[in-house]
């Protein structure tokens, strides 16, 4: 009898794993198809074909015409924005959660309300402002606007991770005579580390893929990858294979970062950092 139960459980387990994988793959399919399309000839790209002769010509085309400045701009702007968002978001979230603000929820809500405006609505005022401040087509201008747009998200996420930290631990540290600064660096930061990393990743993705501000506020010098991609998003000619190629390349950095930081997240959580 025991034998049967164990066998049944294992079989269900295997079926379950296959099921989970099938679902994940189904969800992922459009991206898989996109990657496949990037290796097809343009004329074979569209009516779906299972068998095709793979080619690298799309990659050669999209990597050819001056993509390097765009990549450099994207990396610079995204990484700097990500750092600023974390460096400014952590103190803010700390102040909201552990500080003595009179109305922490209102402050928090104010930050949140600034994200309600869609970029589309505000592009012309921003364009005029940037023109006035001579920040058009300027990398630091882009960093400024992306930081301002993403700090609220960073604050929200870091705040929820800080809230997860049990008060008893902090009080214990206070009793032990630790200063606020010390308990921040030695106690709070390590516990919230995984949260901060995932926040940084989120900001990275938002800035890396941001299209609308990038197209409208840059010309030559500060032009990022999404602007380069724009010229492949529709054309007076077949473009789907080329678009798939540039898109596959663009998706790689966030994907790699996600893969890498995901392990950190799992490791951190497995060490029982946050207890329910």
């Amino acid at each position: 009898m025991i034998f049967n139960v164990r066998f049944r459980r294992r079989a269900l387990g295997k079926l379950g794993i296959v099921g989970i994988w099938a679902l994940c793959l189904a969800f992922f399919f459009p991206i898989l198809y996109m990657v496949l399309t990037s290796f097809k000839h343009e004329t074979e790209a569209v009516p779906p074909q299972l068998f095709f002769s793979p080619t690298l010509e799309n990659y050669r085309t999209v990597l050819g015409s001056g993509i390097l400045p765009h990549i450099l701009n994207s990396m610079l702007i995204t990484v700097v924005t990500m750092l600023f968002c974390v460096l400014l978001g952590v103190p803010t979230a700390y102040s909201i959660v552990f500080g003595k603000l009179k109305k922490p929820d209102s402050v928090f809500f104010w930050f949140l309300s600034t994200t309600l405006l869609p970029p589309v609505s505000v592009i012309i005022p921003v364009f005029l402002l940037f023109k006035f401040m001579h920040l058009l087509d300027n990398r630091w201008g882009m960093v400024l606007i992306y930081t301002g747009a993403n700090i609220p998200i960073a604050v929200w996420m870091i705040r929820s991770f800080l809230k997860d930290i049990p008060r008893e631990l902090l009080e214990a540290a206070d009793i032990d005579g630790a200063t606020r600064v010390r308990s921040f660096f030695k106690l709070i930061l390590p516990l919230a580390r995984t949260g901060i990393i995932s926040t940084a990743l989120l900001v990275f993705i938002f800035v890396w893929n941001e299209f609308f501000f990038a197209v409208n506020l840059t010309y030559i010098n500060a032009s990022t990858i999404p602007v380069y991609m724009a010229s492949y998003m529709t054309q007076e000619g077949l473009f789907w294979a080329k678009l798939s190629a540039i898109s596959t390349l663009t998706v790689l950095p966030p994907l790699v970062l996600g893969w890498v930081s995901h392990k950190t997240l799992v490791r951190g959580l497995m060490m029982g950092a946050v207890k329910g």
Partner: protein, 456 residues
């Protein structure tokens, strides 16, 4: 020892002075050098001909030392960016690529500079080599205001009917040189075999004033309808307008591609070039792609004039053109580039290096007289007659207060055309009745006429 030290100090000071002098001279020389060799910022569309222009612009820099920075975007984004640039006063482009639609009101708004003074300043030799009169007259006049030219065409096009000679021969149908829409309907129905993946005709249904509206507007004209009458009253409820809308839906439903409202230019091109459509009514420039090296239908395409009903010469007129922003600080250098990219030499450069079927079409008479071009491009004569005969100034049967074949040449058309295009798409996809769609279009047009001060 002291003497040695003083000597070495003296030497050091001399070296410093020398270094400083060289540095200053270099800086001066650099700035002088820079002054005569500016960098131009060009905004252009990501069409194949422009992409080639970008690739070959290195030759221009070689010849003149003027460097070029390209901003390449699709048509919608490009138009928005350049309009922002001039309309909101940023003025960061030297050269902009605009169409026959934009040029008249850009000129009126003083957003671009008249090219007449620069043409006058051309030396006699240069002017002769450039041969300004070689530019096709209908396009040149579409780009001029009060006789002054404001933009130079980079490539021009009209619209025509493409058909599969092989499919027609197999079905025993002959395509007349100047077909009517009724004839086209009959032919499309005969060749419509959706179960075999073959559609009778591919027609744009994707909503957009430059997408479905461009094709459909030529139908509006030839059916005898019009957008506004001479007093700017909108005319969407006339029987002719209704007939045009009904016909467009009928031909697409009975013999066209499925999901028409997602079929824009590129989708129709894909259908035609992968052999899924027997006919396609669209821009003349498509001929180059259909006859391209990796086209599945190379050599099988025949050409006919834009189908008509009540009005002949229904084909549209369009030219992507280069103009100089009024706020540019490098107008002379910009003009040099304009005349380089539109010169006979440039056409020869592309013809020799890329292929004669890929040279920018529809700009110069000399291109169409060139035997090499005629040999490589079997669509040349049909394209030329379509462009020459396009009625840009009088597009409709009844008189109208506007110009333009596939658009109404008012600045508000970007918005109005977009709204009506959406109404057309709603009607085509069965989401709206014809009367509702026409009523909505009528309201939109009335609002534009009033707010824009056209109706007095």
């Amino acid at each position: 020892m002291l003497l040695d030290r003083r000597k070495s100090i003296g030497e050091a000071q001399m070296k410093k002075t020398l270094f400083l002098t060289v540095a200053v001279l270099a800086a001066l020389g650099q700035s002088l050098f820079a002054q005569s060799k500016p960098t131009l910022t060009i905004a252009t569309v990501n069409n194949p001909d422009m992409v080639i222009m970008q690739q070959y612009s290195a030759k221009f820099t070689e010849q003149t030392g003027i460097a070029l920075n390209f901003v390449v975007l699709p048509e919608n984004e490009l138009r928005q960016k350049v309009t922002e640039d001039v309309g909101l006063g940023a003025g960061k482009y030297d050269i902009v690529t605009i169409g026959t639609y934009d040029t008249p009101f850009w000129a009126k708004n003083n957003w671009i500079s008249s090219l007449e003074p620069m043409f006058k300043d051309m030396s006699a030799d240069k002017a002769k080599a450039y041969d300004r009169d070689d530019i096709l007259p209908p396009i040149r006049s579409a780009l001029s205001m009060n006789g002054d030219q404001y933009a130079i065409p980079f490539y021009g096009e009209s619209s025509m009917l493409f058909y599969r000679k092989d499919l027609f021969a197999a079905a025993g149908i002959k395509m007349p040189a100047a077909p009517t829409w009724d004839q086209v309907y009959e032919m499309a129905k005969k060749l419509n075999k959706p179960s075999a993946g073959q559609y009778g005709i591919a027609l744009r249904g994707l909503p957009g004033w430059g997408q479905n509206m461009a094709v459909f507007d030529t139908m509006i004209n030839t059916f005898g309808a019009r957008w506004f009458d001479m007093s700017w009253n909108p005319k969407f409820t006339t029987p002719e307008m209704k007939a045009a809308w009904e016909f467009y839906k009928k031909i697409i439903t009975d013999a066209g591609e499925p999901g028409a409202t997602t079929a824009g230019y590129t989708e129709c091109l894909a259908l035609m070039s992968s052999g899924k459509a027997a006919m396609w009514y669209d821009a003349t420039v498509s001929a180059g792609t259909l006859q391209g090296a990796d086209s599945k239908v190379k050599g099988k395409i025949g050409y006919a004039l834009a189908p008509t009903v009540k009005k002949s010469n229904a084909g549209w007129l369009w030219a992507w053109s280069l103009a100089i922003e009024a706020s540019s600080k490098n107008k002379d250098a910009a003009f040099q580039f304009l005349t380089w990219a539109t010169s006979k030499d440039y056409i020869k450069l592309i013809g020799d290096n890329v292929g004669w079927a890929q040279v920018p079409p529809g700009t110069r008479v000399s291109t169409y007289e060139n035997p090499k071009y005629k040999a490589a491009a079997d669509f040349a004569s049909m394209t030329l007659s379509a462009i020459k005969n396009a009625n840009y100034d009088k597009p409709t049967v009844d008189p109208v207060p506007y110009k333009g074949v596939q658009y109404v040449s008012i600045p508000e058309f970007q918005g109005l055309g977009e709204e009506v295009a959406q109404e057309l798409a709603a009607y085509l996809s069965g989401n709206k009745s014809l009367d509702d769609a026409l009523a909505a279009s009528q309201n939109a047009a009335l609002r534009v006429a009033k707010e824009g001060g056209y109706i007095k």
